[in-house]
Symmetry: C2
Subunit: 366 residues, 2 copies
């Protein structure tokens, strides 16, 4: 890779520390292995082949994707892809089934309306797609509710040519396992999950895969009973949310946005060039602002407009000058990475650019 | 342009109505001309040569940009560019001064720390860059405060080789002129602006340009005394904010995000494929959610995650099915466009793609 002098790189730009990325991947893979779990990281966080390669090298069993572009790009790196998103519409179905035949393809879905056309299209090209039925275990976003509906869909998957029932999928990201009063949520999740699994087994529909870990719940994934794999993605970089939730410490953070002070004119604040088009305006309940400084975590990005981020310096004894660079920890890393064209990466004292090949929605070859 | 069948286009995608874009551009140019104002639209909204061409055809006097990429792309279309953003750092300065010599280049800034290196770099290449001094007239983001500081900077600009003092710039977007109690804000703005202009004139520093209009204040820009031009950008498309502020009606909206229902599993809602990576999670004070439906403005996108937008259907008698398409009016159009790779455009019954050449930060030729 071409070595880059970071001083010559225009800000704002996403900035990663490859040593930390490797350590994070290693630690997650080790945790998963210790608990007999597979790690199938969601690559929406980084959208980069180089990052996926690190995850696979460290022991990931396959990759999880949300878009067809992501699937197309990652198909070079693994033969095990989970599309954790319903392929609704002819365009998506066509792209999905054009993926190399060597790939063991699994799809997460929550309705007959998605299952039936997928099965028909897969049967037509002589393919068998594994189906993970998404169950809503409390997040209230997507997912069928309760064992009856899961069984109905699983039976449909077994009856159709072109697909086969492979297991269950859910997203536990709404559970903050570090919050004691939320332990009941976890118990509730376990209770619901076991009820569904028992009901499936009684019908002779053994779920080979039970896929569920998220980054907020990462280190307590083993407490989710019957889980076979975790999909945690943002843990490759972590972010401000991860710090607040307690799933990461400052030394685990591998992604920041490198920004430059561009105005000090208004008293009590300075303005940097990272705004909603670099950090994202990702408000979070219970947290002020849109990011904090890496080297001064007490400094908050209190507001953002498109190309402006305001650092609130009231009560802070630090007076950066125009031109000074700062590193910002965004609230949510995935949406910030998605706003970058490439990442600047530090590795062993040198710097290089990392491509984000899976960004966007166009067909990879276009 | 290649004709596209919209039914085959994968969602989510930004969708524009070119007839409305032309009407919007025409109406704004006409309004500006009637009031003796120039229209120098900010192209950060669309980042597209095709849209800028429409603006220039309809009478825009030049273009406003925020990034060097935007400047490089638009340099083919006009010889009048205002970089309404301080070019901090060597990389930005270098790119700025590499723009064709034929371009009458103006830069907005608020500090000596930006002015001095810019002047030195411009002098070195034998260029003269017009300087608009940014004054903070109440937004509290960037801009010097009060006539003394403006005069100091204007005098510095006059004394340096490589630059010349061209006028004043400010952003009045915080003023909601449609809100009666905010008229005092406007009076205050006028008062401050006139005070600065008088002070400048007394020093023999006549500001040739007084640049200030924003979309929220668009149709009352003529009430800002001494204004010579408006930079209003998002008015080419408008958005939910424009509707709420009253600067646009439903029939003026030229941009929506085309999305598809992907889950109806959780009662009381449906989920579409446009989330924070297509709409942006652009929360606005006093407004629920992240967008509304174009055809059913009572339906709100109540929450978003990366690839999911939840349409709250509680109390609504409409039951869309998986696969059904909807059009979403985002809260803030500029950040949504920035998340697209291209736009799907309707023009006279046919559809085509519109490129967004000025997206991103890399050098245009790279």
């Amino acid at each position: 890779m071409k070595v880059v002098d970071p001083a010559t790189v225009e800000t704002p730009i996403g900035y990663i520390d490859l040593a930390r990325v490797r350590l994070n991947a290693e630690r997650i893979a080790k945790y998963a292995a210790e608990h007999g779990l597979g790690w199938r990281p969601h690559i929406k966080t980084h959208k980069s082949r180089a990052m996926a390669r690190i995850q696979l090298d460290k022991g990931a069993i396959g990759l999880t994707v949300a878009t067809l572009r992501e699937a197309e790009v990652m198909a070079d790196l693994t033969d095990d892809i989970l599309l954790a998103y319903p392929p609704v519409g002819d365009a998506r179905l066509e792209r999905l089934l054009r993926l190399p035949a060597s790939i063991d393809l699994k799809v997460g879905l929550d309705s007959h309306d998605v299952l039936a056309p997928l099965a028909a299209a897969a049967a037509k090209v002589g393919r068998s797609v594994g189906i993970l039925i998404e169950e809503d275990l409390g997040l209230g976003r997507v997912g069928v509710r309760g064992p009856d509906e899961v069984i109905r869909l699983a039976n449909a998957a077994q009856s159709f040519e072109g697909v086969n029932f492979s297991g269950l999928m859910f997203y536990p990201g709404h559970i903050r396992m570090s919050v004691p009063e939320q332990v009941t949520h976890q118990e509730l999740l376990n209770e619901r999950l076991l009820r569904t699994i028992s009901a499936l087994c009684e019908e002779g529909l053994n779920p080979g895969i039970v896929s569920g870990g998220s980054t907020p719940t990462l280190w307590r994934s083993h407490e989710i009973q019957a889980l076979t794999e975790i999909r945690a993605g943002s843990c490759i970089f972590f972010d401000r949310e991860a710090l607040e939730v307690g799933v990461a410490n400052a030394e685990d953070l591998a992604y920041t946005v490198l920004a430059t002070v561009i105005s000090t004119a208004v008293p009590g604040q300075v303005v940097v060039d990272a705004g909603s088009k670099a950090l994202a305006k990702e408000s979070r309940s219970g947290e002020a602002g849109f990011g904090i400084l890496f080297d001064r975590t007490e400094v908050v990005v209190s507001s953002v407009s498109e190309e402006h981020g305001v650092l609130d310096l009231s009560g802070i004894d630090w007076h950066p000058k125009v031109g000074e660079r700062v590193r910002i920890i965004p609230n949510h890393v995935c949406v910030s990475v998605n706003l970058q064209e490439e990442l600047l990466a530090r590795d062993d004292g040198t710097h290089c650019f990392i491509e984000l090949e899976a960004r966007g929605r166009r067909h990879w070859s276009v």
